[in-house]
């Protein structure tokens, strides 16, 4: 039998520990923590759309003016995404291989729909991320909404958003992505807190509540802006 021939592992080293299932899960959790943190900050920034053109454009101009800090943040996020995807694929493959023959009948008692859909929501989000960057950061898609400036000569990001989201298809894409992010982050938050050892005993309920709170906050925060633009509550 293949499994019984497994050798007793030799000396434990930190490098080995990092390549173990638990090491990979820790990398997954730490990179995920960074990504959820960014998502929350990004969402809060996004809400400034409700503050009007001037508030939003000056916020955007401030971010653009960060220079080196902006690039450090971008590279950090890129690294987190790369680590998260790399570890995610490795773990998903190990998990699949761990049960080659399945059950004829299987009833889940506890697993949630969003917990089971992590791979799917992760992939939906990745596809969306590329589209989102091409849309607002690079201006490759829908360029007709792009190149205008406001009365102070700043790039009119506010107008760009508001005009884009009058298109129901673009709004729909953003709402779908918001749902995917919210589902992913709900399981991710409570899951990472356990992986990091923080969700234990009395803190467990709080950590699980944190998951749903982050999920609901991200969904309402992210989806509200495109929907408000579509409904004409935020006008270009």
């Amino acid at each position: 039998m293949t499994t019984s021939s497994a050798a007793v592992p030799g000396r434990a080293t930190p490098a080995k520990a990092l390549r173990s299932t638990i090491g990979l899960k820790l990398l997954m959790a730490v990179s995920g923590l960074g990504l959820v943190g960014f998502a929350v900050v990004h969402m809060l920034g996004h809400l400034q759309m409700f503050g009007g053109r001037d508030a939003y454009n000056s916020y955007a101009a401030t971010l653009q003016g960060l220079g080196a800090i902006k690039w450090v943040a971008r590279l950090g996020l890129l690294a987190a995404v790369a680590v998260h995807i790399g570890c995610g694929i490795t773990l998903a493959r190990r998990n699949r291989q761990a049960r080659p023959a399945g059950y004829a009948v299987r009833r889940s008692l506890r697993a949630t729909s969003y917990g089971r859909a992590m791979l799917l929501t992760g992939l939906v989000f990745l596809a969306f991320l590329l589209y989102h960057l091409a849309h607002f950061t690079l201006g490759w898609v829908h360029p007709q909404h792009f190149a205008s400036t406001d009365s102070l000569g700043r790039p009119d990001i506010y107008g760009n958003f508001a005009r884009s989201f009058t298109n129901p298809l673009i709004t729909a894409a953003y709402v779908v992505a918001s749902i995917a992010v919210a589902m992913h982050a709900t399981h991710a938050t409570s899951s990472m807190l356990r992986t990091l050892g923080l969700s234990q005993g009395r803190t467990r309920r709080i950590c699980e509540l944190a998951g749903s709170t982050v999920g609901v906050a991200l969904l309402s925060g992210f989806a509200s802006v495109p929907i408000a633009c579509l409904l004409g509550l935020v006008t270009p």
């Binding site: 039998m1 499994t3 434990a12 299987r106 234990q200």
Partner: protein, 248 residues
């Protein structure tokens, strides 16, 4: 009462004709589920057919031998209860009940409903022990341990090594089992000697056996007959980090 059992039949580890077979059994609501299988087996033997192989030993919920997935749930319909403690009154008359073995790469089927769980023994051998001087039994209270700590350690020590956690996990992960032992020993003074390497060694063996990783779905905790808490997995993660940092 009469039930129809759909049982996984497999003549050996490499049987290519393995599959579910239907059997009708006359049983009684006061019988245990395993006794119903005994009735079926007596009947099969009388007919000259091969009886259904299944694991059992104590039949009182303490040894961890019994291991059936009943209607898609390891250890069947009753929470915090082993297969051997399930009674037929849990089912309706005329019920169709599907019975399958634990499914995991690390638990290969030996025959019918029995699987090879020696992967668990190898994980324990890799670090699930404490080093003590041999000799006369030590005094019961020679090492004082606070009540709270003693109780937490005891809750983790309640694991009977049945493997239902692996069977229930969508990833066939053994982290509840491994976590229970690591947490139990990390809490006790006797466990401190090997603490720096125990988690790393047990996790390495767990990986070598081909178990998956934890996705924090909580299916293991829901089927565990001893209600081992997911806290075991949180503690396993902490102990692994701690061991790695100690080495670094």
């Amino acid at each position: 009462m009469r039930v129809k059992l759909r049982i996984w039949r497999q003549s050996g580890p490499t049987d290519t004709k393995a599959g579910l077979r239907d059997y009708t059994v006359e049983t009684d609501e006061h019988m245990s589920f395993l006794e119903t299988l005994d009735v079926l087996n007596a009947d099969l033997i009388r007919k000259g057919e091969s009886p259904v192989a299944f694991d059992h030993d104590c039949r009182e919920g303490i040894c961890g031998a019994c291991s059936l997935v009943i209607d898609g749930v390891p250890h069947g319909p009753r929470a915090a209860t082993t297969t051997c403690q399930i009674h037929m009154r849990e089912f309706r008359d005329q019920a169709v009940i599907t019975v399958e073995p634990w499914r995991a790469k690390a638990f290969p089927v030996i025959k019918d409903l029995t699987v090879d769980r020696s992967a668990f023994d190898r994980i324990i051998a890799a670090g699930g022990y404490v080093s003590v001087r041999t000799g006369a039994a030590p005094d019961a209270n020679a090492i004082p341990i606070g009540k709270r700590t003693a109780e937490r350690a005891f809750d983790f020590a309640a694991c009977i090594g049945c493997g239902a956690c692996v069977a229930a996990c969508p990833n066939a992960s053994a982290m509840l089992f491994v976590g229970a032992k690591v947490a139990q020993l990390a809490l006790l003074p006797q466990g401190q000697v090997e603490r720096g390497s125990r988690a790393t060694r047990m996790v390495a063996q767990m990986d070598a056996q081909g178990f998956g990783g934890c996705s924090n779905h909580g299916e293991c905790e829901a089927v565990c007959p001893k209600s081992i808490s997911l806290d075991a997995i949180a503690m396993l993660n902490v102990e692994t980090m701690r061991a790695a940092l100690e080495r670094a």
